[in-house]
C-alpha cells in the first residue's frame, strides 16, 4: 500500500491545519503563562479564529477541490459555513469572557476545547466521506461534553454533561449503524460515490432505508429536533450560560452542514423519502417546542424549547426542494438557501438572547429566570430595546431578520405545495409569539425586582449592540445575506 501513497494536497485544508496547530499552541502557552496571565490563551484563541477567517477567505476561490483521497472537500458551501462558524465562535467568546473569568472557568482547557470543537465543526463542514464526517462529529461532540462539564463543582452542569454524553453516544451509535448500512448497500464510504450508487438504483432498498433512517436519526439528534430533542432543555439549562451560548450557535452550522452533506450530497435520489421524515419531525418540533416553552419559568430552558422549534422551522426549508419527483434547480436552490438563511438568522438571534442573560448575570447571581428581565427598561432602556428586537425577531415580527427567515422558508414550503403544513406551523408560531412577547411585557410593564446597575464590560456592550443592530439591519435589508446563501448554494450544488 505504501508505494501508492501520494502526499495529499494540504492547501484546501489550510484553515483546519491552522486551527489545529493553534489549539496545541494555546495548550502549551497556557502552561507557560500560568494562572495569572489568563489573557494569553484568550488572545491566542482570538488570533487563531481571526487567522482562520483570513486563511479561509484567502483560499476560497469558488472551486470545488477534493483532497486526502477525496475524503475532504473544499467548496463554496464549506467556505461560507466555516466563515459563519468562526464569526459565531468569536461572538460567543466575546460574550463569555467576563462571565467565565468571574467564575474562574477561563482556564486554558476552556480555550483549547473551544478550538477543538471549532476544528471538529470545520471537519464536518468539509467532509466528503462518512469517515471524515464521523471524525469531525466526534471531535466536536467530545469537546462539547467537556465544555458543558467545565464547571466541575456544579452538580447541575456535570449532570447535564453526563446526559449529553450518554445520549450523544447513543446517537453516535445510531449514526454509525446507519453509515455501516449505507456502506453495505453502496460499497463505498465516499459521499459522492454513495450518491452515484443510489442514483443508478441497483442497491438493496431495505438496507438503504435502514441506513437512511439511522443517519437521519443521527442528524436529528445534533439538530435537537423531536423526538431526539430530549437532551436540549436539560443541557441548555444545566451548562454555564457561556457554554450554552456556544452550544446554541456555532454547532448549528455544523449540524446543517452534516444534513447537507449526508442527505443532499449523499442521498439526493432518496430526497422524497427523507423529506417526509424531516417534515414530520419538523412539525412535531415546532408544535412541541412552542407549546413547552410556554410553561417555562427559566429563560435558558425557554430558549432551549424555542431552539427546538426554530430547528424544526429550518428543516421545513430542507423538505421543500423536490416535489413529485421533479428536480427543478431553481426551486432546489431556493429551498436550501432558505434553510441556510434560517440557520444564520437563528444563530444571530440566539447569540443575542443568551448574551442578554449573561449581561444581567454577575458573580454569584445567574439571571436565568424570566423574572430577571422584569423592568429592564428602567434599568437600561437600550438593552431592553435590544432584547425587544431579539424577541420580536424570534417571534417573526416584520422588519427583523427572523421574520424574513420564517417568510422565505414558508414561501419555499408553499411553493412545494405544502400549504396546509404552512398554515399549521404559522399557527404554532402564533402560540410561540406568546412567550416571546411575555418577555417584552416583563421588561416594559413590570417593576424590576433587582435594581442594581448592570455590570458588563465595553466589549460585551458593544457586541450586544452590534448583534441587536444586525438583527434589525438584516431585517430591513434581508437580501444582503439571502443573496450570499443563494450564490453559495448555486455554485456548490
Amino acid at each position: 500500500m505504501l508505494e501508492n501513497f501520494v502526499t495529499p494536497d494540504f492547501y484546501p485544508a489550510a484553515a483546519e491545519l491552522f486551527i489545529a496547530a493553534m489549539a496545541l499552541i494555546v495548550l502549551v502557552a497556557d502552561l507557560i503563562a500560568g494562572t495569572n496571565r489568563r489573557w494569553v490563551p484568550a488572545l491566542l484563541t482570538m488570533v487563531a479564529l481571526v487567522g482562520a477567517i483570513v486563511v479561509t477567505a484567502a483560499t476560497a476561490d469558488g472551486q470545488t477541490v477534493q483532497t486526502f483521497s477525496r475524503m475532504f472537500v473544499d467548496d463554496l458551501l464549506a467556505d461560507f459555513l466555516k466563515l459563519m462558524t468562526y464569526l459565531a465562535v468569536i461572538m460567543a467568546l466575546v460574550y463569555s469572557r467576563r462571565y467565565m473569568a468571574d467564575r474562574k472557568l477561563d482556564s486554558g482547557e476552556y480555550y483549547m476545547l473551544v478550538l477543538f470543537a471549532t476544528l471538529g465543526m470545520m471537519v464536518m463542514i468539509s467532509a466528503s466521506s462518512l469517515v471524515t464526517l464521523y471524525i469531525g462529529l466526534e471531535l466536536m461532540s467530545l469537546s462539547l461534553y467537556g465544555l458543558v462539564a467545565i464547571d466541575r463543582d456544579s452538580k447541575k452542569a456535570t449532570e447535564a454533561a453526563m446526559k449529553y454524553f450518554v445520549l450523544g453516544a447513543l446517537a453516535s451509535g445510531l449514526l454509525l449503524y446507519g453509515m455501516s448500512m449505507l456502506y453495505g448497500a453502496t460499497g463505498t464510504l465516499e459521499i459522492g460515490g454513495i450518491a452515484q450508487a443510489l442514483y443508478q438504483g441497483n442497491v438493496p432498498k431495505t438496507i438503504a432505508v435502514f441506513g437512511l433512517v439511522f443517519t437521519v436519526a443521527g442528524i436529528a439528534f445534533k439538530l435537537g429536533v423531536v423526538p431526539f430533542h430530549m437532551w436540549v432543555p436539560d443541557v441548555y439549562q444545566g451548562a454555564p450560560t457561556a457554554i450554552t451560548l456556544f452550544l446554541a450557535t456555532a454547532p448549528k452550522f455544523a449540524a446543517f452542514a452534516m444534513a447537507m452533506r449526508l442527505l443532499v450530497y449523499g442521498m439526493f435520489s432518496l430526497a422524497e423519502e427523507w423529506q417526509h421524515m424531516l417534515l414530520i419531525m419538523a412539525v412535531l418540533s415546532i408544535a412541541l417546542g412552542n407549546l413547552a416553552a410556554i410553561a417555562q419559568t427559566n429563560i435558558k430552558r425557554m430558549l432551549a424549547y424555542s431552539a427546538i422549534s426554530h430547528m424544526g422551522f429550518m428543516l421545513l426549508g430542507l423538505t421543500s426542494a423536490v416535489v413529485g419527483g421533479q428536480v427543478e434547480p431553481f426551486a432546489v436552490v431556493n429551498a436550501y438557501s432558505s434553510a441556510m438563511y434560517y440557520v444564520v438568522a437563528y444563530v444571530l438571534m440566539s447569540a443575542a438572547a443568551f448574551g442578554m442573560v449573561m449581561l444581567l448575570s454577575r458573580p454569584g447571581y445567574e439571571a436565568d429566570t424570566l423574572d430577571a428581565f422584569k423592568g429592564l427598561n428602567q434599568r437600561s432602556p437600550w438593552f431592553a430595546a435590544v432584547m425587544l428586537m431579539v424577541m420580536f425577531s424570534m417571534a417573526g415580527i416584520p422588519f427583523f431578520i427572523g421574520f424574513f427567515a420564517k417568510f422565505s422558508v414558508l414561501l419555499a414550503l408553499i411553493k412545494a405545495g405544502y400549504t396546509s403544513i404552512a398554515v399549521i406551523v404559522v399557527l404554532f408560531s402564533l402560540v410561540g409569539a406568546f412567550y416571546y412577547l411575555r418577555v417584552v411585557k416583563l421588561m416594559y410593564f413590570d417593576k424590576p425586582d433587582d435594581t442594581s446597575p448592570i455590570q458588563a464590560g465595553v466589549d460585551m456592550r458593544a457586541m450586544l449592540t452590534i448583534n441587536g443592530l444586525m438583527i434589525a439591519f438584516f431585517g430591513l435589508f434581508p437580501d444582503a445575506i439571502m443573496v450570499l446563501c443563494t450564490t453559495t448554494l448555486m455554485r456548490s450544488l
Binding site: 446526559k163 450518554v166 445520549l167 431495505t206 433512517v213 430530549m230 407549546l291 410553561a295
Partner: protein, 662 residues
C-alpha cells in the same frame, strides 16, 4: 451630488431631525431640538428647490430606491416618482413646514413638551414627503397612515385635556372609515392589475376599464375610484367624514396650520390628482366626487358663520375650501384643484398662524366676541390677516382669486352630471366665504375693544391660565416673520403661476385628462387671455359682486349695526339651532354609529366573546396549551433512560413507517 441621493435626502433630513429631537430631546435641550429640526426641514426645502430646477429642466424620475421584499408578483419597495406634480407638493410641504417650525419657537415657548412637539412636526414632514414622492400604492399607504398617526398624536398633544383626547380619538376613528375604503381600493387594484406600481397600473387602465368586479358585478374602475375617493374623503374631510376636522383644533395652532390646513388634509386632493388616469375612466365616480365636493363647499361654509372660536371659523373655512378643490377634481380640472391646493396652502397657513398670533396676543383667549380693535396693538398680524382674508375670498390679483375663479369657470364649462348643482354651490359659496371671513376679520381687528370682558371659564389653551390680564401685544419676530413670508406668496403666487400651471401644460404627463369626454378644462382654456385680463375681467363678474356684497353685509352687521345679527338669530331660531348642532352630524354619528357599534359590540361581547371565544377558544385553547405544556414537562422527567427510550421509539417509528411505504 447625484439626483437620486438628493431625492433620498429630502425625506431623510426631517426624519433625522425628528429622531434626534425625539430620542435625545432631553440631552440636546430646547434650543438643540429646534435647531436640529429646523435644519432638517431647511435642508429638505433647499434640496426641493434644486429638484424643482432639475425638473424644470425636463428631468423626471421614476424608480426604486430600496426593495424590502418580493412575494409572488407583488413587490414591497420604496420608490420615488418625481415629476412636476410631486415637486410642487414637495415645495409647498417643505416651505410651509419650515415656516411653521420657525413659528413654533415663539408659539410653544412656554410649553413643557417643546422637544416632543418639534419631533412630531418633523416626523410629519417626513411622512408627508414620503406620501407625495411615492411611486407605488404601498408607500402611498404608508405615508397616508403615517401622517394620520402624527395628526392623531398632535391633536392630542395636550394629553391631559379630555377634549383633546376626545378629538384625537374622533379623528382616528373617522379616518379609519376612510382608510377602510382606501385599502379596499388598493386591494382591488392589487387583485385585478396584479401590481401596485403606479406606472404599471396606469398602463393597464384600458384593461381595467373593461372589467367588472366579480362579486358585486359593479364596473371595476368605478368601484376602485369610489373606494379610493372614500379614503380621500376621510383624509380631506369631505361630508360626511368631515366631523373630525373642526375638533382637531384642540391641537396647538401651528399644527392646525401645517397639518389641518396646508398639507395633510390636501393629501386626498393630491391622491385623486395622481390617480387621474383612473378617475378619467369613470364618469360615475367623477360625479360622485363632484357632488360630495359641492355639498362640502357650501354647507360647511354656512357653519363658519356662527362660530365664535377664531380657530373654528378658519377650520370651517378650510372644510369649505377643500370642497372647492374636490369640485375641481369632479369636473376633471385636476390642475386647477392642485393650483387651488397650492394657493390655499399659503393663505390658509397664513390665516391659521395669524389666528395663533392673535390668540397669543390675547393671552390665550380664542373667542372672537371678546376681541375687537386689535389692529392698533398687532399691526403686522393685522395687515397679514387682511391679505390672507382677501386672498381667501378671491379678491382680484390675489392668489385665491385666480384659483377660485378658475374652479368656478371650470365647473361652468363642465357637462358632467351634477355640474349644475355644483356651479350653484360654488357661486353661493363665494358669498358665504366672504361673509364669514370678514365677520371674523371685523370682529377681531376692528370695532370696539372687548378683550377686557373675557369670562374666566371661557375656552382657552389650558397651559396659560395665569396670563389673563393686560392689553394685547404684538407677537415676537419668530412669529411675525413666518406671517410676512407666507403673506408674500399668498398675494403673488397665483398671478405668477396661473399661466404655466393651468394652461401651459406644466404638469405634462403627471395629470391625465380625457378632453373628449370631459372638455371642461379645454373649454375654460379658450376663454383665458392672460392673468391681467382675467383679473380685470374678474371685477365685472358675478363672483366678485357676490364676494363684495358678502364683505359689505358683514361690515354692516358686525360693525355698523351689531344688533341685527342677534335679531336674525332670534327670528330664525330653528335654522340657528340646526347650524349650532352642525346639521346634527355628530349626534347622528353618536347615536347610529357609535351607539350601534356599542350595541353590536355588547352583543358580540356577551354572546361571541364571553361565551364562544373566551369560554371555548381562548380559555379552552389556553387550557389545552397549558395542559400540553404540563404534559411535556411531565415527560421531560430528567431521567436519562427515558430520554434514550424516546430516541429509540423515534427510530422505531420511522423505521416501521418507511418499511410500510416500500
Amino acid at each position: 451630488m447625484e439626483m437620486k441621493t438628493i431625492y433620498l435626502l429630502i425625506p431623510m433630513a426631517p426624519l433625522l431631525g425628528a429622531v434626534v429631537a425625539g430620542l435625545f430631546g432631553k440631552a440636546i435641550g430646547r434650543a438643540g431640538a429646534h435647531v436640529v429640526t429646523i435644519l432638517g426641514v431647511a435642508v429638505a426645502f433647499a434640496l426641493s428647490v434644486i429638484v424643482f430646477q432639475d425638473v424644470q429642466a425636463g428631468n423626471t424620475f421614476n424608480g426604486t430606491v430600496y426593495t424590502w421584499l418580493q412575494s409572488g408578483g407583488l413587490t414591497l419597495e420604496v420608490g420615488f416618482l418625481i415629476d412636476k406634480l410631486t415637486v410642487m407638493m414637495m415645495l409647498v410641504v417643505t416651505f410651509v413646514s419650515l415656516m411653521v417650525h420657525i413659528y413654533t419657537i415663539g408659539y410653544m415657548a412656554e410649553d413643557p413638551g417643546y422637544q416632543r412637539f418639534f419631533s412630531y412636526i418633523s416626523l410629519f414632514t417626513f411622512s408627508m414627503l414620503m406620501l407625495v414622492m411615492s411611486n407605488n400604492f404601498v408607500q402611498l399607504f404608508f405615508g397616508w397612515e403615517a401622517v394620520g398617526l402624527v395628526s392623531y398624536l398632535l391633536i392630542g398633544f395636550w394629553y391631559t385635556r379630555p377634549t383633546a383626547i376626545f378629538a384625537n380619538l374622533k379623528a382616528f376613528l373617522v379616518n379609519r372609515v376612510g382608510d377602510f375604503g382606501f385599502l379596499l381600493g388598493i386591494g382591488l387594484i392589487a387583485a385585478y392589475a396584479g401590481s401596485l406600481d403606479y406606472a404599471e397600473v396606469f398602463a393597464k387602465r384600458e384593461e381595467l376599464a373593461a372589467l367588472t368586479e366579480t362579486v358585486t358585478g359593479w364596473p371595476l374602475i368605478t368601484a376602485i375610484c369610489i373606494c379610493l375617493f372614500i379614503g380621500a374623503m376621510g383624509k380631506s374631510a369631505q361630508v360626511p367624514l368631515h366631523v373630525w376636522l373642526p375638533d382637531s383644533m384642540e391641537g396647538p395652532t401651528p399644527i392646525s396650520a401645517l397639518i389641518h390646513a396646508a398639507t395633510m388634509v390636501t393629501a386626498g386632493i393630491f391622491m385623486v390628482t395622481r390617480m387621474s388616469p383612473l378617475f378619467e375612466l369613470s364618469d360615475t365616480a367623477l360625479s360622485f366626487v363632484l357632488i360630495i365636493g359641492a355639498i362640502t363647499a357650501l354647507f360647511m361654509g354656512f357653519l363658519g358663520i356662527i362660530q365664535n372660536d377664531i380657530k373654528r371659523v378658519v377650520a370651517y373655512s378650510t372644510l369649505s375650501q377643500l370642497g372647492y378643490m374636490t369640485v375641481a377634481l369632479g369636473v376633471s380640472a385636476y390642475s386647477v384643484a392642485v393650483f387651488h391646493l397650492m394657493t390655499h396652502a399659503f393663505f390658509k397657513a397664513l390665516l391659521f398662524l395669524a389666528a395663533g398670533s392673535v390668540i397669543m396676543g390675547c393671552h390665550h383667549n380664542q373667542d372672537i366676541r371678546y376681541m375687537g380693535g386689535l389692529r392698533k396693538y398687532m399691526p403686522i398680524t393685522w395687515i397679514t390677516s387682511l391679505l390672507g382674508s382677501l386672498a381667501l375670498i378671491g379678491f382680484p390679483f390675489l392668489s385665491g382669486f385666480f384659483s377660485k375663479d378658475s374652479i368656478i369657470e371650470a365647473v361652468h364649462a363642465s357637462n358632467i352630471p351634477g355640474a349644475g348643482f355644483a356651479y350653484f354651490a360654488v357661486l353661493a359659496g363665494v358669498f358665504v366665504t366672504a361673509f364669514y371671513s370678514f365677520r371674523m376679520y371685523f370682529l377681531v381687528f376692528h370695532g370696539k375693544e372687548r378683550f377686557d370682558q373675557v369670562p374666566h371659564d371661557e375656552h382657552h389653551d389650558a397651559h396659560h391660565d395665569d396670563h389673563h390680564s393686560g392689553s394685547p401685544h404684538e407677537s415676537p419676530w419668530v412669529v411675525t416673520l413666518p406671517l410676512v413670508l407666507l403673506a408674500i406668496p399668498s398675494v403673488v403666487i397665483g398671478f405668477l403661476t396661473i399661466q404655466p400651471m393651468l394652461f401651459g401644460d406644466w404638469f405634462g404627463a403627471a395629470v391625465f385628462i380625457d378632453s373628449v369626454k370631459h372638455p371642461a378644462m379645454s373649454e375654460f382654456a379658450k376663454t383665458f387671455h392672460g392673468p391681467v385680463a382675467m383679473a380685470l375681467h374678474g371685477i365685472t363678474t358675478l363672483p366678485f359682486f357676490l364676494a363684495m356684497s358678502g364683505v359689505a353685509l358683514s361690515w354692516f352687521f358686525y360693525l355698523k349695526r351689531p344688533d341685527i345679527p342677534a335679531a336674525i338669530q332670534k327670528a330664525l331660531q330653528p335654522l340657528h339651532t340646526l347650524l349650532e348642532n352642525k346639521y346634527y352630524f355628530d349626534k347622528f354619528n353618536d347615536v347610529v354609529f357609535a351607539g350601534g357599534a356599542r350595541l353590536l359590540g355588547k352583543g358580540l361581547w356577551k354572546g361571541g366573546d364571553q361565551m364562544l371565544i373566551d369560554g371555548v377558544m381562548v380559555n379552552g385553547s389556553a387550557r389545552l396549551v397549558g395542559w400540553i405544556s404540563t404534559l411535556v414537562r411531565f415527560i421531560q422527567t430528567g431521567h436519562i433512560y427515558q430520554y434514550a427510550f424516546a430516541m429509540i421509539i423515534g427510530v422505531f417509528a420511522l423505521m416501521t413507517f418507511w418499511f410500510n411505504r416500500f
